[in-house]
């Protein structure tokens, strides 16, 4: 039983990072109906910025803050400078998805060129080796911090979306764009904000993943795919779904890795996703979009 709780706890910590990635993807899918394939690469770029700034002996807080800001500005620039012009020229949904893929490839190249391709260790204020004992369960300082930050970020995000005027405008814009426009809501700025927030959540996940995974230009590939899977598991257009999906995925793969074999870590997790989607194609908490004609 102690083993079980051990797996659950470490699964929750990993799941929290998946949840953050998934939250960003769901946020963008909900508001722009776009699958954002550059999400992982924006996250990587942001994490490399943090790494570079730490190398310049900036304080952790300052470096992380600037990295989050960098990610957000990068995503918002992409929205304003590429997506809006593309939409003006009536780019199809698929065309816009390809644009995000393109951005991803460009960022990969830039990160490899400026950041280097060899694996580097990411200095971090929390240690992966310092552990705490709670009952029979052991948790590392890093995992605890990761889970804590994940919960905190989700909570703040929830408050922003559900309790503020900006959040209300975000919900209105993603549900019914023409109606939001006719209300005089500045929908472009609101959508840009969604892109920025998504990137911010992603970079946050990246910063907490980097110390455990070690940093290289492709370190976000697997977490990004997991985040994607988590978002789909939860229902791509549901924000709570993304969080639940991330946590379930984290716990599932941790249990599979612990009880069956570490080799089945990914296999088992994706089996669960396939099963859920067979039963509920719209995802756990997703709702079919009611597109009006």
């Amino acid at each position: 039983m102690a083993n079980f709780w051990q797996y659950v706890i470490s699964g929750l910590a990993t799941g929290a990072t998946y949840a953050l990635v998934a939250l960003g993807l769901a946020l963008i899918y909900r508001s722009s109906r776009i699958l954002h394939f550059a999400h992982g690469d924006i996250t990587t770029a942001g994490t490399f910025v943090a790494f570079t700034l730490l190398g310049l002996k900036l304080h952790y807080m300052v470096a992380f803050f600037l990295a989050l800001l960098f990610g957000a500005v990068l995503a918002m620039s992409f929205y304003f400078c590429v997506l809006i012009p593309a939409q003006r020229r009536e780019a199809s949904q698929l065309g816009q998805i390809i644009l995000t893929l393109g951005l991803g490839l460009i960022l990969q190249g830039l990160v490899a060129y400026f950041g280097g391709t060899e694996t580097q260790s990411f200095p971090f204020p929390l240690s992966d080796f310092k552990t705490y004992q709670i009952g029979e369960v052991v948790i590392s300082q890093l995992s605890l911090g990761t889970f804590g930050i994940g919960v905190l970020a989700c909570l703040l995000f929830y408050l922003l979306v559900q309790k503020t005027r900006i959040g209300l405008a975000m919900r209105a814009t993603s549900e019914n764009l023409p109606a939001a426009q006719t209300m005089g809501i500045p929908t472009r700025q609101i959508l840009a904000l969604s892109w920025g927030l998504a990137a911010l959540l992603g970079v946050l996940a990246g910063i907490f993943l980097a110390p455990a995974l070690l940093l290289d230009p492709f370190f976000m590939l697997e977490p990004f795919l997991k985040g994607f899977a988590a978002a789909i598991l939860g229902g791509l257009n549901s924000l709570p779904g993304a969080i639940v999906g991330g946590l379930i995925l984290g716990v599932a793969e941790s249990l599979a890795g612990g009880y069956v074999s570490i080799a089945f870590k990914n296999t088992f997790a994706f089996l669960i996703i396939i099963l859920v989607l067979l039963v509920r194609p719209e995802g756990l908490l997703g709702k079919e979009f009611k597109e009006r004609v």
Binding site: R165, L168, A169, R171, A172, E175, N176, P178, A179, A180, Q181, T182, M183, G184, I185, P186, T187, K290, R292
Partner: protein
């Protein structure tokens, strides 16, 4: 009365080749109710969307002026900010948000002290909305949804309120309630442009009417004049015989005088 909205010879196309409006002109004077009547597919919805700026790069030709300012081909947000509020055929509600949230969004961008008075006014007009404040908009009945859409529109203090078939899909009694509310809104000083297939209901409250067909205005006049026009009576008001049947439409095509 001064002219609030002036539309001159506009042409609106879908996909750059399907003409929906062919050189349409009309005027809306401040303080009155204007009704555009016409059969399904006449282009009524297209007209309102063109005014609201919801059809990108349309109208292709012609001009729309609102209070002397040109507004054609402006972004919908800009048109909305000038005080033109559009209630679409599908009501344009945020269906997943609550009634209150929908109303709050109606006050977007406002910070004046008149908000409480306006809220008071709409609750007086539609008391039912107060009881439904925390219900999701999609759980309301059709009539309540139309009322919510109108209430939300009024919170924007429209200089021009445009409605697309407000009685569509409503039981006759509910439709009449909606029209009574429109009448009160007009009396409180709001200019209204409404499009309808239901000519009888619309002409009862309108001051002036336009008959629209295949993207053109084919007849215009005061509500009185239109109600007395024989063609309008036969084709739109259902006076004398089975004119609503397809046979009636053919008949009307032959004998129309416009």
């Amino acid at each position: 009365m001064e002219t609030l909205l002036k539309i001159a010879n506009i042409e609106t196309l879908y996909y750059d080749r399907i003409y929906a409006l062919h050189g349409l002109s009309l005027e809306v004077k401040a303080g009155e109710i204007f009704a555009v009547l016409g059969p399904n597919g006449a282009g009524k919805t297209t007209l309102l969307k063109t005014i609201a700026g919801l059809l990108k790069d349309q109208p292709k030709k012609g001009a729309i002026h609102f209070m002397g300012k040109r507004i054609h081909r402006l972004a919908p947000e800009r048109v909305a900010r000038l005080g033109i509020v559009y209630v679409p055929e599908d009501r344009g509600l945020f269906r997943e948000l609550s009634v209150k949230e929908n109303l709050d969004l109606g006050c977007w961008g406002r910070s004046d002290s008149g908000i409480t008075d306006d809220v008071e006014f709409i609750y007086q007009l539609f008391p039912i909305l107060k009881n439904r404040a925390y219900q999701q908009a999609e759980t309301l009945s059709g009539g309540e949804q139309q009322m919510l859409a109108m209430a939300r529109a009024m919170l924007r203090r429209p200089k021009l309120l445009m409605l697309d078939e407000p009685s569509l899909g409503l039981a006759p009694r509910v439709g009449r309630e909606v029209y009574e509310a429109l009448s009160k809104i007009s009396q409180a000083g709001t200019t209204i442009l409404l499009v309808e297939q239901n000519a009888k209901m619309a002409l009862r409250i309108a001051n002036f009417g336009y008959i629209m067909e295949s993207g053109r205005i084919v007849l215009e006049g005061t509500a009185q004049e239109l109600q007395e026009n024989q063609d309008v009576q036969e084709l739109y008001l259902g006076v004398g015989g089975d004119t609503v049947s397809p046979k009636g439409w053919r008949l009307y095509k032959k004998r129309r005088t416009w």
